[in-house]
């Protein structure tokens, strides 16, 4: 049976490094590891070149190479004979490989130092299974194959239906993540939205227990940040191995020339993730969020997942866009509700320099959601108001919301969830479309300061 590149796709998912042999023009062989191998088409592979190596020099002098790769499930070995075709230092292939490296290097504080220099594209001349590399045993558990095709199509239909049914943004986000778990087994997921100041904020999380809503990622940092920056889907399998390698590089840098090495950046999510996938949520060219999925299973995400998740991502993005402008034209009178006496006391402090709000000395929220909260609390303190509308927030220039696509609904969801976690005596309760109540069951003290 002819072995094709597609049939051994698992071997190129970065979970086990391959081995490459090259030869200089004098006939001296060189053998080393190659960690990043990318399938270009059914006859070509790309090897990523981050550092200067003898491998690269040999390929340029003599195009012949031999590559051995391993199936991460069965440990079967495959021998590929290659012929170096070309080096690409720009273009779509280069950009995609560079993104993967940037996701790791930005996480480990090596952004300025660990970069892709070129993608080395090689033609695959032959593939053969290396018989005898591993002793077969009838006791071997069968390699687990993931079902693909119709199962995913049916699942996509189910998730799609839930996205369509969502009546508000919060429901859309939480239901989507729950459905992705129920239908596809993606047990850890989050949706982050851009804050407009170079940050992304986690608005909905699934599978993280008590993880705090509002966790932040800077654009350009780690997998999620790089996806937000490049607006391209990224799937990294064996990310644990990549991080181990990057940390070894980092240790080497620190020993030899520590300048340029910055602190490793803690990112939200599993600390022991083995595979991650992040998909930009785009409406036309506008980024409305990032869907991030991760797993402790190295092989959780396949190339097939990229295809159908991108279809779902488009639908999620459209839904987010549709529900983001949820206003009610009815300007009903704001009701005044008296607060009962003898309630617990919560002190809110607002710092004007960064629009940051603390409650009883603990950080609560900042930026636009901080300004919104402060406006609501002041209105409540002044005349006991509890009823508010999205529309009046949009019309308030002091909040600094952009005139177009202001992300107000996302910001209110974030504020609502942060209050539920940090100060359940003050809640935002949606009442009807575009309107909500400030439900207060404590006595509020308001303190305003210039800086912390």
């Amino acid at each position: 049976m002819t072995i094709t590149l597609a049939s051994i796709d698992r071997c190129f998912q970065r979970t086990l490094p391959g081995v490459i042999a090259t030869c200089d023009r004098d006939g001296t062989p060189n053998v080393n590891y190659v960690t990043s191998i990318h399938l270009v088409d059914d006859r070509h592979l790309a090897l990523s070149y981050q550092f200067s190596t003898k491998t690269r020099l040999n390929l340029e002098a003599n195009p012949h190479a031999s590559l051995e790769v391993y199936d991460p499930l069965t440990l079967d070995a495959y021998r590929l004979q290659l012929r170096f075709d070309r080096a690409e230092d720009h273009g779509p292939l280069f950009d995609m490989l560079a993104c993967r490296i940037e996701a790791i290097s930005s996480h480990t504080g090596l952004s300025e130092l660990l970069k892709l220099r070129a993608a080395y594209v090689c033609e695959v001349l032959s593939i053969e299974r290396r018989a005898g590399f591993i002793e077969a045993s009838p006791a071997d558990p069968p390699a687990v194959e993931r079902g693909e095709g119709l199962t995913e199509l049916r699942g996509m239909q189910l998730v799609s239906a839930r996205i369509n049914r969502a009546a508000d943004l919060d429901t859309l986000l939480t239901e989507t993540l729950a459905a992705l778990d129920e239908v596809f087994g993606f047990s850890h997921g989050m949706i982050l939205v851009p804050e407009g100041d170079g940050r992304l904020v986690a608005l909905a999380l699934h599978g993280y227990g008590d993880a705090v809503v509002g966790a932040e990622v800077r654009v350009g940092q780690g997998l999620i940040g790089v996806v937000a920056k490049t607006r391209k889907l990224l799937r990294i399998l064996g990310i644990d191995a990549d991080l181990r390698y990057a940390r070894a590089v980092r240790a080497e840098f620190q020993q030899r020339a520590p300048t340029g090495v910055t602190a490793e950046i803690p990112l939200p999510g599993l600390i022991d993730a083995a595979s991650q996938m992040a998909i930009p949520l785009l409406v036309q060219d506008r980024l409305v969020g990032v869907l991030a999925l991760e797993s402790r299973d190295t092989l959780m995400f396949s190339q097939w997942h990229e295809a159908f998740l991108q279809v779902l991502a488009n639908q999620i993005a459209s839904g987010m866009d549709r529900l983001a402008d949820d206003d009610d034209d009815d300007d009903g009178d704001a009701a005044a509700v008296a607060v009962p006496a003898e309630l617990p006391r919560r002190a809110f402090t607002y710092y004007r320099n960064d629009d940051c709000v603390f409650v009883d000395g603990e950080y609560l929220i900042r930026n636009v959601p901080g300004k919104i909260l402060w406006k609501l609390l002041r209105a409540h303190a002044a005349d006991q108001r509890t009823e508010f509308s999205n529309r009046e927030l949009r019309l308030d220039p002091s909040l600094g919301l952009p005139a177009f696509k202001d992300n107000l609904e996302s910001r209110l969801i974030l504020l609502r969830k942060r209050l539920e976690q940090k100060c359940p005596e003050v809640l935002l309760v949606p009442t009807r479309r575009g309107r909500f109540t400030l439900a207060v069951t404590c006595t509020i003290e308001l303190i305003e300061r210039e800086t912390a």
Partner: protein, 161 residues
């Protein structure tokens, strides 16, 4: 990547002989290379000769190459540091492995599985990489190259390997 003259120092001998990953590269007279995994390395007392063990079941391409070009490259590594030592040399003898070689390969097999476990991989199959029968390749060392993960390598270092 620093190049050192033979022989291997005591420190390097220790690193090479305890490697959990052994790669063997060869090439035929028309400069077409091949790579295969080794399952054991022994360094002679002089530090100038090494014996690398390759399972006979997978050594065919290497032996075919050696008939026309006796040069061989052997890279050894340990996962926690990703540091590598590459020994280059000339094959001076090819023989069947003996009981001592088999014991050496068995110890390698255990280390290989341990590194798999360290990397969070299922070791069931790693414990069954073939180690017998063996072919032993005796190599006179002509050059030694050591490398950590090497972000400092530059295009103007012609001796980089």
């Amino acid at each position: 990547m620093p190049q050192l003259p033979p022989p291997l120092t005591t420190e390097l001998v220790d690193y090479v002989e305890r490697a959990a990953s052994i790669l063997v590269g060869s090439a035929d007279a028309s400069l077409v290379p091949d790579c295969v995994r080794g399952v054991g390395v022994r360094v002679a007392a002089s530090g100038a000769r090494v014996t690398v063990l390759v399972p006979t079941a997978i050594v065919g391409h290497t032996l075919a190459n050696l008939r026309s070009n006796p040069r061989l490259a052997i890279t050894t590594a340990a996962l926690p540091t990703f540091a590598t030592v590459q020994v280059k040399g000339t094959v001076i003898a090819i023989r069947d492995g003996d009981d001592g070689d088999r014991a050496l390969a068995a110890r390698y097999q255990a280390r290989f599985a341990d590194e798999f476990a360290w990397a969070g991989r299922d070791v069931t199959r790693a414990r069954r990489i073939a180690i017998w029968p063996l072919t032993a390749l005796d190599v006179d060392v002509t050059a030694i190259f050591t490398a950590a993960p090497d972000p400092f390598a530059r295009d103007d270092h012609p001796d980089r390997r």
